[in-house]
């Protein structure tokens, strides 16, 4: 498991108290280039907060983050913005910019953050939209897209920034069942293309087939971690296995 070169992302001892409740209790993890780690666990376990603490959308109370061996100085605005550009974030409810069409959603950060000129930003945005299968939807506005399409636009928006890693916060949880597949297939392509990702999800089948490692979170800590076949195999007596089999009973599909 452990390789010699430094991990692309290292997160250490992240703590967060929100509203008097300890949401994260000293969480650490690290990610090598090209790895896909999947965060699973019940709602309220702190998965979402953890992902948002990693790129400081929620400032952690304690803890450190290193990208490619360099610690992120989140108090220095310039460093923080530069770091966030390299970390793509996908949200459960898409968070597209409602006043911009798909193309502009993807190109706006290229223009305003990376200072790429309009024609080049446009070309790049078109390419990213085509990559997620939305080449023909580029002039539609978020309110004119389905949930699955919105999430794919948001993935294109993140990819256009050339992120070194991606954080995906339950990207399919807000979708109708028949729309989950199109988003998962985009994520599968990314994983197979070597994108480094942390994915919080309840899609157990997907996790089993693609995850390099499963991190099971509960009450603000990672209580189990390991390869999916160790943690999730039918004869494993783990908390993760137990949780997943209950999820499977609930949905009775996914396999």
């Amino acid at each position: 498991m452990t390789e010699q070169k430094p991990p692309i992302l290292r997160v250490e001892n992240i703590c967060k108290i929100l509203g008097g409740k300890e949401i994260l209790k000293s969480v650490s993890l690290s990610l090598n280039k090209g790895e896909l780690k999947v965060l699973i666990g019940p709602s309220g376990a702190g998965k979402s907060t953890l992902l948002q603490c990693i790129n400081f959308l929620i400032p952690p109370d304690k803890g450190h983050v290193w990208l490619e061996g360099v610690e992120v100085q989140s108090r220095r605005k310039r460093d923080l913005y530069a770091f966030r550009q390299q970390v793509g974030m996908i949200f459960q409810d898409f968070n597209l910019f409602d006043h911009l069409n798909a193309l502009e959603n993807v190109s706006i950060a290229l223009r305003k953050v990376k200072k790429i000129r309009r024609p080049e930003a446009r070309d790049r945005a078109v390419a990213e939209l085509e990559r997620v299968g939305l080449g023909d939807k580029k002039y539609l506005y978020p309110a004119e897209l389905s949930g699955g399409q919105k999430q794919r636009v948001s993935i294109a928006r993140a990819l256009a920034m050339d992120p070194k890693i991606m954080l995906l916060d339950e990207p399919t949880s807000a979708l109708d069942p028949e729309l989950i597949g199109e988003v998962l297939s985009v994520i599968r392509d990314l994983a197979q293309g070597g994108m480094t990702m942390i994915l919080a999800t309840h899609q157990i089948g997907f996790t089993r087939s693609l995850a390099d490692e499963v991190l099971f979170m509960e009450n603000g800590i990672i209580i189990e971690q390991g390869a999916p076949e160790e943690l999730l195999s039918p004869d494993a007596c783990t908390r993760s296995r137990d949780f997943c089999s209950r999820l499977n009973e609930l949905y009775a599909e996914n396999e």
């Binding site: 959308l57 966030r84 793509g88 409810d93 968070n95 910019f97 069409n101 706006i108 539609l140």
Partner: protein, 222 residues
Amino acid sequence: MLEALAAVLEALPYLLKGALATSGIVIGAMGFGLVLGIHMAVGQVFGNRIVRWFIGLYVWFFRGVPVLVLLFLFYFGLFALIGLNLSAFAASTLVLGMATAAYQSQIFRGAILSLPQGQLQAARALGMSDIKAIINIILPQALRFSIPGWSNEYSIILKDSALAFVLGTSEIMARSHFVASRTYHYLPLYITAGFLYFILTWLGVRALLKLEAKVRIPGYSQ
């Protein structure tokens, strides 16, 4: 009856010049209020405690004091005190501008708060500073949603501008009153004044409705 009509017709060019002055006051005040109001709204939503406190105080003062009192207070009092020598027209425009800024800031603040929080998060996650996110993501949407409230504010300020009369600004009301008191055709001239305000309100509200339709985000039902 004919005599009254003749008096109105004769006074009309003079009154229309007053309408021009009224338009100048309203456009100036609304423009001033727009620029100041946007900054105040952003400051009130995103600023630190001190900024929020000052803006809150400003809003509380200008919403709490009648426009007529404000006009007297500034024109005869504060402006004179600080040696600011403004014409009645400029002073009325500025005072109305400061007053409408307080109201407009609350229109914009409401619109900003009504936006889904996630869009700001998404903008930050892409590496945008808060200023960039506000300029490129928050305000373009908040300002769109503010148009109906802004149109309302326009119609109020237009009518408040008649108070500039008391400072001696030569606008619709002042000119109507002047002609009426010389010709004794009070009723026809005040009806004309009212009609001019009505026309200006209608034109402005209509223009803003057109603007609203023009900048409407596709896919939003309406």
